[in-house]
Symmetry: C2
Subunit: 326 residues, 2 copies
């Protein structure tokens, strides 16, 4: 049905070898080239990537493992990775692993069957894969890159964002502004979340202040949740959380209770997402450079795939993006 390289060769009066060379920008005499070009244009011929992949072992396809594309942090990551790699001809397969490690493994199997050229894992949760030697064995021969993590395989690049220090600096910022009764809201209890919390605890203890952490599992912070937190927070002058959406919920609740956010009480978030502009006052937030880290991860994977470069480990420092809420 669809035309193939044989059809093109026949009509151009040459061999499939020559057509193949043309397709791969190898040396072909100008006149032969011209004839091939014309026939290809005539039929709108596109070489079959599957057949090519079977020979070359590369499908020009990479997989991105993320927890949930609906969360701004992850959709940003997927977006910037796509933006970086699509122009280079790579196709991006997005896998919503839901933070469930057995689901992740299914996705890994699936993309491995497809012979993806590489995998990017977003988020420290994927460190858990180190506990599955059989999974590591499967991916030991293809390049992978993690953000905030590392896998015990041959070719594993990493982009670390110093989350802990980001929260540490944010806490110090509030303390330097004279805040002393600062609480931290921890979303989830995975390693990434507790890592951030540790930054807060460190900063508090350094100044002789006593840290206090609240836990939540609802990122959109239902009223009950934020109200409960507020109930405990009447004596608070600073609130930091590890996710912008949570801090935005806190601001909403504080507004409702009549607190002047940014004056009576400071609020700081994490991610510096655009959503921080949706609340009033706008949200001061730790900027963990999602665009930069995603691009670096993509770039790193590309280099590992194409130039067989050694795995690198890169570090990124966060900034504090100061707006109105602190």
């Amino acid at each position: 049905m669809a035309v193939n390289i044989y059809d093109i060769a026949r009509e151009a009066g040459t061999s499939i070898s020559t057509v193949s060379r043309f397709l791969n920008n190898k040396n072909v005499r100008p006149d032969t080239k011209k004839r091939i070009e014309e026939v290809i244009a005539k039929y709108g011929f596109k070489p079959n990537a599957i057949a090519k992949g079977l020979v070359t072992k590369s499908m020009k396809t990479i997989a991105v493992m993320i927890v949930d594309i609906r969360l701004p942090h992850y959709s940003d990551a997927a977006f910037f990775i796509d933006k970086e790699l699509s122009p280079l001809g790579y196709r991006v397969i997005v896998c919503n692993t839901s933070g469930d490690i057995s689901a992740s493994i299914k996705y890994i199997d699936s993309v491995l069957e497809l012979n993806v050229d590489g995998i990017i894992f977003i988020g420290s949760i994927f460190n858990e894969l180190n506990r599955y030697p059989d999974v590591l064995a499967k991916i030991k021969n293809i390049p992978v890159v993690l953000t905030n993590g590392r896998l015990a395989v041959n070719r594993c690049g990493a982009v670390y964002v110093d989350d802990q220090n980001g929260i540490y600096e944010a806490t110090k910022y509030l303390i330097n502004k004279g805040r002393t009764r600062i609480k931290y809201i921890q979303y989830n209890s995975n390693s990434s979340a507790s890592n951030k919390a540790t930054g807060y605890v460190r900063a508090m203890k350094e100044r002789g202040l006593s840290p206090q952490i609240y836990f939540t599992n609802d990122i959109f912070g239902g009223y009950e949740q934020t109200e409960r937190i507020l109930f405990d927070c009447r004596d608070v002058d600073g609130i930091i959380s590890g996710e912008d959406l949570i801090s935005i919920g806190v601001i909403r609740a504080l507004n409702k209770e009549g607190f002047k956010v940014g004056t009576d009480v400071d609020v700081v978030g994490f991610n510096a997402s655009e959503y921080g502009e949706l609340c009033s006052p706008s949200l001061t937030s730790v900027d963990n450079k999602i665009e930069l880290s995603s691009k670096m991860a993509a770039q790193m994977l590309k280099e590992m795939i194409e130039s067989n470069k050694d795995a690198r480990v890169e570090e990124i420092k966060t900034d504090l993006s100061i707006k109105e809420s602190a």
Copy 2:
């Protein structure tokens, strides 16, 4: 390096044909089956999907074309499509077309080379592809599904969400509450956006009220934008927009100016996204059933791929999700 079907056959003392039959759940004698099973387990053998794809012409892969995965509406769509099709063994390739039709065409070419089994286009913007006969020609032989659109190709399913009626009903709701000075904020000027605006205009005119539309291109509604809108809106008692994020920005601005949203002035959004919970008062919004429509699109595509079913056209009605802002 990796084991293949030949290795399995040899070690199981049978032929590759039989191993292939086993892999595809065809008839194999129990004892042969058992031997094959054991060898496969021993090596953790996974059949190569590329080789399989070359023969079967199916890679069990589908593509989703969306404008920008960072927008909640689209990331929801991608999430629910993945959730629906991944368990069935399909891999989902996400393409951020950026609303640029020539970028879309590049993505289409790319996934077509991969012989994807089908394509889902999210959003009416992809109706524009009808103006490119050469593009239509390329996809005329694979099943496609659009939400809020239709392509002039053989096998094109569609899931329509009646956006226009959703806004129409929302407008009538405000009018029935006694609001008369209702404005509409239109984001973008593509067919989807103007379609929604039309619903507003229809409802206003039916009641003899004069419609008034503001335009914006910034979905996160910078202050300047919302303030400008507000400047013109001092005589307003209702504001409707075609995107939740815009309405949330409006609420923030109104709060700041001292308006009592839900009392002095009603605000209605569109999408009924969870972000509507992030503002105070919480956002009343047209629920366009993104989860349902995404699942239906995925289901429809799957049926077209697997059972060669005829293309269907389905319609979904919106609801008005009433919260505090109206």
